[in-house]
Structure formats: structure tokens, C-alpha cells
């Protein structure tokens, strides 16, 4: 059976690439510390020596659109192109190209359907920054095959928070039952408090530092029950109008498991939103 060697939850900040590669006067004052934190975070994945990456993210109205909107979608393709014109335009992100772990995609789809998740699929998926950002931060050599999984945190009606947790638990079960001699890491990205296109956007901090503090506590302590008892689709409007992306963190808490304390946790308070980085090593650490 495959081995789940790391569970990683992270924010995906599309400005990291540009900030970390800028030089001279173009380099923002927060870049050096940001790079230092990201490189330390990257080491937590490197240490786990994964063969395959399951990548959980959310399409930002790039390929998935309101005429045909899936709630949870698994990419099943031999290859994936990545990043879109408007991400190149706004964030300076490069075009990227991935190899798919298609047999694991097929396994997750078949077994996921049978486990009660009516997963949509795509045989030709162009990936966006919710998945390319963590590759840039965590595996910049981009040398591992992936299974992309998209969640809808963007276009209401959305699935309930508990459904994200349940999907995370199911992804873990499926990875651990996949009959392949592979080391798998599951990496998911979301947001803490975030406002986009509203009056609280682009402030000196994230729009709700108190929510961020509590969110970091829920995640790092694995307090799924506490988190679920307070987070609802309605409540997530309060910390910022794009905070539903936090549900992808909840999905990753589901992968890590109830009460699973993160083996690595770090944050970085930036303008606009707080960065947060978590790693769990299931089954007692890095073998």
C-alpha cells in the first residue's frame, strides 16, 4: 500500500513568486524574511521524500465556470498545463507544466464515488495558482507527478464546512489504501481571513487578525470539533468576503486527523493577508 508521508496545509499567496525573485529596488522589504520562512517550510516536504503529490486547491473562475460548476473535482490526465493569462498579467506567474499520477486519480475517483463523494472529473485541466503557488514554494523543481483536486470555495452555494473535513478524511483513507508502493504527500492550500474586491481588502494586515489567531490554533492543534462548532458558511463572511477559502484548511485538518497536532507551524503577517504554513507527519514521523 501507499504510504502517506506528509500532510501540508498552506496559504497560497500569488505575490510570493514575484516578491521572491525581485531584485534591487523592486524587491519588497518583506521578501527576505518571507523567503526564509518558505525555505524552512519547504524542508518539511523535502524531508518526507515523497514520490507523488496530491494537490488540493480551488479554481478561481479559470476553467470552472457558473454554467457548469462542480463542488469537488479530481483531475485525471497524464499532464496538466498551468497558470492563466490573467495570473501572468496580475501576479507575474510563469507558465508551468505537470505530469499527472493518473492511476491515483482513477483510484480516488472510483473509490471516492463508492465512499459517498460524487466527485466530478476533468481529463483536460489547466491548473491555476491555488496549486502552482505551493509547487513554487514547496517543490520549485516541480519534479513529482500530481493529482489535482479542486474544491468550490468560490461560487455559492458551497458545500458545508463539515463536508470539506469529511472529504479530507476520505482522501487520507484512499491514499493509504492505494495499492502502490509510493510515498504520497497531500498538500492543500486555502486562506485565513481574506477580503477581495471589498472595503477591507489590501489593509496593513489580514482583515480579521483575531480570526487568524483562532484559525492557526485550530489547525495547529488539530481541533476539528472546535473549529466545526464555530465555523459555518454564514460565519465565514464575517472575517472577510473571501474567507471561505479557509474550508480548504479544514479539509486538510480532515486529512491530518482529529487531534493531530501539527509537527511544524509557522505564520507570517503580511499586508492584505496572513501567511500560514503547517506540516504533519502521519504515522509517527518521517521514515
Amino acid at each position: 500500500m501507499a504510504q502517506l508521508v506528509a500532510v501540508i496545509a498552506s496559504t497560497h499567496h500569488p505575490f510570493y513568486y514575484r516578491a521572491s525573485t525581485a531584485t534591487g529596488e523592486d524587491r519588497p522589504p518583506f521578501a527576505d524574511e518571507w523567503v526564509r520562512k518558505v525555505e524552512a517550510f519547504r524542508e518539511t516536504l523535502t524531508k518526507a521524500r515523497p514520490d507523488v503529490l496530491v494537490m488540493v486547491g480551488s479554481d478561481h473562475f479559470h476553467q470552472l465556470w457558473l454554467d457548469n460548476m462542480p463542488q469537488f473535482l479530481v483531475g485525471k490526465a497524464p499532464f496538466y498545463d498551468a497558470n492563466w493569462y490573467n495570473e501572468e498579467r496580475e501576479f507575474g506567474l510563469p507558465r508551468m507544466f505537470f505530469t499527472g499520477q493518473e492511476d491515483l486519480s482513477a483510484y480516488i475517483l472510483r473509490e471516492g464515488l463508492d465512499a459517498g463523494f460524487d466527485l466530478a472529473f476533468s481529463n483536460e485541466l489547466r491548473i491555476d495558482h491555488s496549486i502552482t503557488c505551493p509547487i513554487i514554494t514547496l517543490r520549485p523543481q516541480n519534479d513529482l507527478p500530481i493529482v489535482p483536486i479542486y474544491t468550490n470555495i468560490f461560487a455559492p452555494p458551497l458545500p458545508q464546512p463539515k463536508r470539506f473535513v469529511q472529504l479530507g478524511r476520505t482522501i487520507r483513507e484512499l491514499v493509504e489504501s492505494w495499492p502502490a508502493d509510493k510515498r504520497v504527500a497531500v498538500i492543500g492550500t486555502g486562506h485565513l481571513s481574506l477580503e477581495l474586491g471589498g472595503p477591507r481588502q489590501f489593509g496593513p494586515h489580514g482583515p480579521d487578525p483575531e480570526f487568524d489567531r483562532r484559525a492557526v490554533e485550530w489547525i495547529s492543534s488539530g481541533d476539528i470539533e472546535g473549529c466545526l462548532s464555530e465555523v459555518t458558511l454564514d460565519s465565514l463572511h464575517l472575517p472577510g468576503n473571501a474567507t471561505h477559502g479557509f474550508m480548504d484548511f479544514m479539509l486538510m485538518m480532515g486529512v491530518a486527523g482529529e487531534g493531530a497536532k501539527a509537527d511544524y507551524a509557522d505564520t507570517y503577517d503580511l499586508f492584505h493577508t496572513m501567511e500560514a504554513y503547517f506540516t504533519w507527519y502521519p504515522n509517527g514521523g518521517v521514515a
Binding site: W65, L66, W84, N86, P156, G197, G198, P199, N241, A242
Partner: protein
């Protein structure tokens, strides 16, 4: 009310570099042309299979034609789509992050709960 159609305009313009420039330079003309030629187009289908029922309400058409992004927010257009397209059009006219902070300031009168964006 057609939040879906507002979003469809923002979505289809934002992903086309030529349309982004056209909408920046001639917002009213672009909106009129788009509504006549593209509002009913079913994406990825030829014109013979276009929809027949989609049109803007007057307030929606005017908000788009006036580049009135606070009004688009009030009308329930998806804030991510509006922000992304308007950054593409107007960030270049400001200091770094200047447009984004002005955008927030022009929406400062909006309080929770924000307009519903469900389509």
C-alpha cells in the same frame, strides 16, 4: 436581476487581453456590443446553439458602461471577478497598490452583510 450575466461579462472580458483593452478604452460601446453579440452565447458552443433569454437590467448595463465598480459590488457581481478585471484595466494608472487601496476606499460605505453574490 442577472448577477450571472454580470459575472459572465466580467469573466469573458477578463480572460481576453484584447477585450480588456477594448473595455478600458470604450466601456459603453463594449458593453453594448457584448450584450448584442455575446451575452447569449453558450460558452464552447457555436452560435446556432446560443441561449435566447439573457439580457442586462438597466442598472446592470449602466454600472458596467460607467466602470462603476462600487455599483457592481452593490448589485452582487462576484467581487473577485470585478477586482481582477479592474486591476487589469486601471492598476497601471496608479502607484503600486494605489488602485487596490482606492478601490477599498470607494467601497468603504459597504457594511456587513454584503450583497448576496449567489447566482
Amino acid at each position: 436581476m442577472s448577477k450571472y450575466l454580470l459575472n459572465k461579462f466580467l469573466f469573458t472580458v477578463d480572460r481576453d487581453p484584447e477585450l480588456v483593452e477594448r473595455y478600458r478604452e470604450d466601456p459603453r460601446g463594449t458593453v453594448e456590443w457584448w450584450e448584442a453579440e455575446h451575452a447569449n452565447r453558450l460558452l464552447n458552443c457555436h452560435g446556432g446553439e446560443a441561449s435566447t433569454w439573457l439580457r442586462f437590467e438597466d442598472a446592470e448595463r449602466e454600472a458596467l458602461a460607467a466602470h462603476d465598480y462600487p455599483k457592481l459590488f452593490e448589485l452582487g457581481a462576484h467581487p473577485f471577478l470585478t477586482l481582477t478585471l479592474f486591476i487589469a484595466m486601471f492598476e497601471r494608472d496608479h502607484e503600486p497598490l494605489g488602485f487596490q487601496t482606492e478601490y477599498a476606499r470607494r467601497l468603504a460605505h459597504m457594511t456587513l452583510p454584503y450583497p448576496d453574490i449567489a447566482t
